[in-house]
Amino acid sequence: MNSMSSPAKSAPVIYLDYAATTPVDPRVAEVMIECLRPEGPHGNPSSMGHEPGRRARALVEKARQQVAASIGARPECIVWTSGATESDNLAILGVARFHADRGRHVITARTEHKAVLDAFKQLEKEGFEVTWLKPGVDGIVRPEQVRDALRSDTQLVSLMHVNNETGVIQDVAGVGAICRERGVAFHVDAAQSAGKLPLNVEAMNVDLLSLTAHKSYGPKGVGALYVRRRPPLGLKPLFHGGGQELGLRSGTLPTHQIVGMGEAFEIGERDRESDVARIAVLRERLWQGLTAIGGVELNGHPSERVAGVLNVCFHDVEGESLRFALRELAVSSGSACSSGSDEASYVLRALGRSDQLAQSSIRFSLGRFTTADDVDRAIAIVSREVARLRALTPTADSNGT
């Protein structure tokens, strides 16, 4: 590393990677810090026999209500986890394994997050049959595709609400209605939609819903799984131990993390409409600026998308050079969870993009703290660097003499 230069330039980086993770909202940090002070609620929330424990428990239950309220659920349906990856695994493996004697067919889409894809691959290893639905070129899986894939032995359908790479919104209510009608459990990974779209598990007929705090201005390391309780769903836990969370997730509850998630979700729901309206204007400003460069295409559906995400491919620019040239911007190519390799995004490939265009795609994601100045500076940097690289790109007549 000694002879190698750090890829980062010295100029301050413009953060446009909110879909990877968000900064913690200062209001959230404040309530978390209070939990960590010596005089704070340091008791184990499961120690109901003394005051410090009961104090911590009260805060955990308040947070449970805050998160439940943001998705139209009853608080007892919220199970604390370490994040969306654990929630996805608990939902998918938990339901499939619990009901394995009734059927071994499960359904998901090729464009799901790795946490879902790999949980389904694990089920394949355990003898389950998986139907991998292919979205259209707009990134959307039609509810009819799910209906057509359902069988008498189908136990579970899992579909994400908002795609982490493209921001495309799936019709989860449409899929939920079909699953409910057929008596099949329906899981939704909502990591990217909390605080961005209205969520109501009852109206959407969702049985299991994965949430995470760190994409909604809360801390990393905490999440939740909504589990329908009436009628009981049947779920095998992943962890065994103290039997916390009604036996579904053993392990001491991290009070400060949970309090942070509760606060983040309450703020997220309260400020959702104003946040979304402001971010949508900024995203449109960014899109107009990028299209002015020319040779730029949007990845995914043009309108069925969340406000904050803009995934675009740049023609005639090689992907790695583009990413290195744009290192003044904190942006992503592919998902942050799997990028770092030369491999083209499997999500964009599933949408029909060539390897080359998938590699030359950048996800810009905006959030609560993005400013118009951030956007304007980003447009200027992208315009300059794309023009610079394209000036070096061989043209169509390069093979001529």
């Binding site: 002879s3 890829p7 050079s321 061989p394």
Partner: protein
Amino acid sequence: MEPEYSPTVVDHFEHPRNGGRFEAGEGVIKGVAGSLEQGTMFVLSARVAADRIESVRFEAYGCPHCIAAGSWLTEQLVGLTQPELRAWHWRAADQALQFPMQKRGRLLILEDAVRALSEAWARLIP
């Protein structure tokens, strides 16, 4: 897992020398290798006079190492005779730019472009 780039690569990537190409004409030769589809392509064009290369320009499509290699090469080839150009080997670029092992195949494409340039020169001077 960010790729690592040597200071020479960063310098040439940020400030590429002699980008572009010479239009076809007297004393101008060209060598092309690779393709956009395969992710790496080099176009070298040079002016030759008095049995030596006078100046070189490059176009490149590829990773930062490739852009840098094209730029670096334009400075290295100036003054070379035809036999010296024919003898050019990719290891010279590898030593100067510290290509990662998995990218060395791209230097063979660069060497192919130099070879094509050399062959074009041979056709120019029988």
